[in-house]
């Protein structure tokens, strides 16, 4: 579903809290019970991302409630740690639905946890808003009426990078990506889209380090051995730090283009510090240099509350709440069936600007920034960046129809 220029302008022009508290949406029920969101995430298993994420949604809840809530009701988030295990997430989803009587479910970082909760939602016919899980399956192969997903998927992340990758005009590519579905899916899409866009491109080697246990020296040497023109990277977190350090010392990145997913996100860029390689084409968020009003407002509010710079996780956490609020506001109720219809096409503000829930596959159009890495005062930053709206990185409606059953 295309977004009209007017919606964009309207949403972008007003502050986020004001949008949600728009008089038309406020009903005379400010005294009624809060809208309850049951939230599940891998707070202990993936703290580097999820701790800022929690701070992000806490800020959003506070802001929305300060502005009068949604439908005149306050938002309340009941949040649990899934310990990184899908089976625990399933039990907690049940607890949230049955004991805490939440109106909808949200959260997830790991793809399998997201899919597990989504499956509960399908079975129980309750709404689930997946905030972070990136697997395409969530809205495509395993997509269903009750599951919405906020962030750009692995396909979208890759699609956002492909333009710049093609411009490198490199023939021999190698890939390195963590050995699980996320990493495999990244490489699969990158190969597919590159082959489509640049006839004659070759993939001469691939490395699949185990998540969290990369043998960086051997991996770097094995990649260098293939004498590639360019490298596609899907590793992140501790693996990325090890990979970059070995790569720097061994000169893997010299005179080679590197296209790297998520590396521009502050949580992954920060540990690279003064070893941040320069000129990598990455997705991420240039938190230091964004200048537009919505970003600025978010960063300032966040710093005021927590006294530290927000991370990508903070943005996702914040947007997850505003996206839910936007959907509920449009629906006008928290009835599950009504929300499953009403969320489709609903617009919402995010720190990156306005976005909406695509009607066709329940995917959010929250975008991400694409740019190049650079170093400033011993810290990694993003330069030459641009914001890519999620809507611009989707496959055609025709293709989505083939990928999404029902």
């Amino acid at each position: 579903m295309p977004i009209s220029r007017r919606t964009l302008l309207a949403a972008g022009g007003t502050s986020l809290a004001a949008t949600l508290a728009a008089p038309a949406l406020v009903r005379a029920q400010s005294t009624s019970a809060p809208i309850r969101i049951g939230e599940i995430n891998s707070y202990t298993a993936i703290p580097a991302f999820t701790v800022p994420y929690r701070m992000g949604w806490q800020l959003a809840v506070e802001q929305i409630n300060a502005a009068g809530g949604v439908l005149g009701r306050k938002l309340e988030v009941i949040s649990h740690d899934d310990a990184g295990k899908p089976s625990d997430a399933i039990r907690l989803a049940g607890a949230l639905l049955d004991e805490s009587r939440v109106d909808l479910l949200a959260g997830g970082f790991l793809s399998n946890v997201g899919l597990a909760i989504s499956d509960v939602a399908r079975q129980r016919k309750r709404l689930f808003v997946a905030s972070e899980p990136l697997t395409d399956a969530l809205v495509w192969e395993q997509g269903h009426r009750y599951c919405f997903r906020l962030r750009p998927s692995t396909y979208m992340q890759v699609a956002m990078l492909v333009d710049d990758a093609v411009k490198l005009n490199a023939k021999r590519w190698v890939t390195v990506s963590p050995n699980y579905e996320y990493g495999q899916s990244l490489v699969k899409w990158f190969k597919a889209l590159m082959t489509q866009r640049q006839p004659g491109v070759e993939f001469v080697a691939e490395q699949w380090p185990a998540l969290g246990r990369i043998d960086a020296g051997a991996t770097v040497a094995a990649l260098a051995q293939s004498r590639p023109d360019a490298i596609f990277n899907g590793t992140f977190g501790p693996d990325l730090t090890n990979f970059v350090r070995q790569g720097n010392t061994r000169g893997l990145f010299e005179k080679r283009g590197v296209v790297s997913v998520l590396t521009g996100e502050p949580e992954y860029l920060e540990p690279l510090g003064d070893e941040t390689p320069e000129g990598w084409i990455v997705t991420g968020w240039p938190v230091e240099s964004v200048t537009d009003a919505t970003n600025k407002a978010f960063i300032e509010a966040y710093r005021a509350k927590f006294n530290e710079m927000p991370k990508m996780g903070s943005v996702v956490g914040h947007a997850a709440i505003t996206a839910i609020a936007g959907g509920i506001a449009k629906t006008g109720s928290v009835d599950t069936e009504a929300m499953a219809d009403g969320f489709k096409g609903a617009t919402f503000p995010t720190p990156f600007g306005p976005a909406l829930w695509r009607a066709q596959d329940n995917q959010g159009t929250l975008g991400t920034y694409v740019g190049r890495t650079a170093m400033k005062n011993g810290k990694g930053i993003m330069v030459d960046w641009r914001y890519v709206d999620g809507a611009a990185a989707m496959p055609t409606d025709e293709e989505v129809r083939k990928l999404r059953p029902g």
């Binding site: 740690d81 899919l115 597990a116 499956d119 395993q142 969290g212 061994r250 070893e275």
Partner: protein, 614 residues
């Protein structure tokens, strides 16, 4: 050719890092027989402490060396504290109880590190000398990797000097061979054990500190490292420093070349190596058969059939359990369903571990195979609940029979680690065979249709199958087969001398345990509506171990009590802040208070009570 040399050197550098982690673990095991699950946590603390020290020091080589040494000393002190406060009290406790205690420590350290150092990965800024490279055959090789290649053998040399040239080292070697002899020599065993543990912890800290310049201190490194360390120690032969060094070389170099030839092998390579080595050499490369740890550990507790009081208590609990759906809310019902499943899972492990005398670190394999079998029955064969519940124990039992053939001839930690290797291989298959298993995204939509859709029906089904299954296992243990199995554990010599075929009995026990675990996995798959590789992952195997040890491995009611207690505790704490810290602390306290497990303590208390009765 140049690449070959470079990759060999790279492999040697990883081998050195592996050896540093494994050395401390093997020294600790050799002397104290403690299976120290917290070794990875000490490594992680080493990395974090090193970050705290090194990021405040000038970035010269001298200060780096000083900082690394200070870190090693600090972790050694932490290790000594751990030994004095916790492990010292457990040397006479039943086998593997220290594993449970150190698992508690792992949980505590995870939350403590998160609280103290925060969630962001911490890296030190590398000065040019740490960042530099040397030219080898026209290719760049990191200078620091070259340093590491030297550090491994240097540490090995220093340790060998320490063990062969000092009186303390003599005592350590004597204790590695025969603990009782050292006790008989009138040596202060306490000081010896504490110092050995401190040395091992210091080596772990050294490993963590030296790993820091290559990456970051982060909260995932403890578990990433501890399995590798165990593999190296076991492949080398437990307690053998030279063996650990050889094993580290073997694995480091194989890994360096393995990923060039088969890039996707990263998940299983070390476990394939371990399985191959153990099948060919059941005590590792340079290991010796373990001296019977049991004879000195504890007199085996007598196993008695339930008395009238216990039977009444059991029946009452069962009646309560059956009535639960009328009383408790839907969430508690889910927890109880999981508890029922955990009971069969733990009881099946207990059959192997207690009466069978075969501890397993990979029991989740059978659980997972059962769960996947149920998924295939539903998805591929289009079968219903009954098909899946029938197929699962068959599949898991058959696989266990095949794998058991390799396993039952071994003993002790080697046996446990071989089961872990097979479990990891099974896990990797489920993880990577995406076309069939869906990879880590799992198989969804297994919710049963019809009557079993009702959570209460699901609960009763789980109760009937799982608690019924556990009671059946209990029945088997009191039947002739169970006695024969226990006989082979109590005294292999006597068992053979009365005509018992120990390998066959153990193999049967292994297959029965596998089938029962498989059934519990299938029930879990239907109760959760989905199957994921995490069902066969190490943490799930650890769950079963914790349940059995918490309940009391030497009691028949142990697995039931332990599984219910652990499931309820975990699901109750999981929704609170710092749950890992609380759960870990609780486990440590329970271990200290009830070394015989909860059921063991209850039985002892009951016996005392009865003795005072007229």
């Amino acid at each position: 050719m140049d690449f070959f040399l470079l990759q060999l050197l790279t492999g040697l550098a990883s081998a050195s890092s592996l050896f540093l982690v494994a050395a401390g673990l093997t020294v600790i095991f050799g002397v104290t027989r403690v299976v120290n699950f917290a070794h990875g946590s000490l490594f992680m603390l080493g990395a974090y402490i090193a970050w705290s020290i090194l990021s405040r020091l000038p970035r010269t080589p001298e200060h780096f060396a000083l900082g690394v040494l200070a870190t090693a000393l600090a972790t050694a002190a932490i290790g000594a504290l751990l030994e004095i406060a916790l492990l010292r009290r457990l040397y006479r406790a039943p086998e593997l109880l220290q594993l449970l205690a150190t698992f508690g420590v792992v949980l505590v350290v995870q939350d403590a590190a998160l609280w103290f150092w925060g969630p962001v990965d911490l890296a030190i800024s590398r000065p040019p000398w740490l960042r530099g490279a040397i030219e080898i055959a026209g290719l760049r090789f990191p200078f620091y990797d070259a340093v590491l290649i030297a550090v491994g053998p240097a540490v090995l040399g220093l340790l060998l000097l320490l063990f062969h040239r000092t009186r303390w080292g003599l005592l350590v070697r004597a204790a590695t061979q025969d603990r009782d002899m050292v006790a008989a020599l009138g040596v202060n065993q306490r000081v010896l054990y504490t110092s050995v543990f401190a040395l091992g912890a210091g080596l772990a800290g050294l490993g963590g500190a030296l790993a820091l310049p290559q990456g970051s201190a982060n909260l995932q490194m403890d578990l990433a490292v501890v399995t590798d360390a165990f593999v190296v120690v076991v492949v080398g032969g437990m307690g053998s420093l030279g063996g650990a060094f050889l094993a580290a070389l073997l694995i480091g170099v194989l890994q360096a070349f393995g990923i060039v030839l088969l890039p996707k092998i990263t998940l299983v390579l070390v476990f394939l190596v371990m399985a191959a080595v153990l099948v060919l050499r059941p005590h590792g490369l340079l290991g010796r058969p373990q001296t019977a740890a049991r004879s000195e550990a504890e007199a085996l507790a007598p196993i008695r059939p339930a008395g009238a009081a216990l039977q009444a208590a059991g029946l009452a609990s069962l009646a309560l359990a059956m009535a639960a759906p009328f009383v408790v809310g839907p969430y508690l019902l889910t927890v109880l369903t999981e508890a029922a499943i955990a009971v069969l899972f733990a009881a099946s492990l207990h059959l192997m571990m207690g009466p069978g005398g075969m501890a397993s670190f990979g029991h989740a394999a059978w659980f997972g195979i059962g769960a996947y079998a149920a998924a295939f029955a539903t998805k591929a064969l289009g079968g219903g609940l009954a098909t899946g519940l029938l197929l699962a124990p068959l599949a898991a039992g058959t696989m266990a029979l095949v794998i058991g053939w390799f396993v039952v001839r071994m003993s002790g930690v080697y046996l446990a680690m071989l089961t872990l290797a097979f479990a990891q291989i099974a896990w990797a298959v489920s993880f990577q065979w995406v076309e069939v298993t869906g990879g880590d995204n799992g198989i969804l939509g297994l919710w049963p249709q019809g009557w079993a859709m009702d959570p209460r029906a699901m609960y009763w089904l789980a109760l009937a199958l799982c608690v019924g299954g556990a009671l059946l296992l209990r029945r088997i243990l009191f039947a002739p087969f169970g006695f024969a199995l226990r006989a082979t554990r109590d005294s292999p010599l006597r068992a053979a001398a009365i005509g018992l075929d120990a390998p066959r009995l153990r193999l049967a026990a292994f297959a029965i345990a596998g089938a029962a675990a498989g059934l519990s996995g299938a029930v879990f798959a239907y109760a959760k509506g989905s199957v994921f590789p995490t069902y066969m992952a190490i943490p799930h195997s650890v769950d079963a171990l914790v349940a059995v040890l918490l309940g009391g491995v030497q009691t028949m009611a142990g697995p039931i009590v332990g599984a219910v207690a652990f499931t309820v505790l975990q699901s109750w704490l999981l929704t609170s802040e710092f749950w890992r810290f609380k759960l870990g602390l609780l486990i440590v306290l329970l271990v200290l208070a009830f070394p015989g497990g909860i059921a063991g303590a209850a039985a002892a208390a009951w016996n005392r009570f009865r003795r005072y009765q007229p």
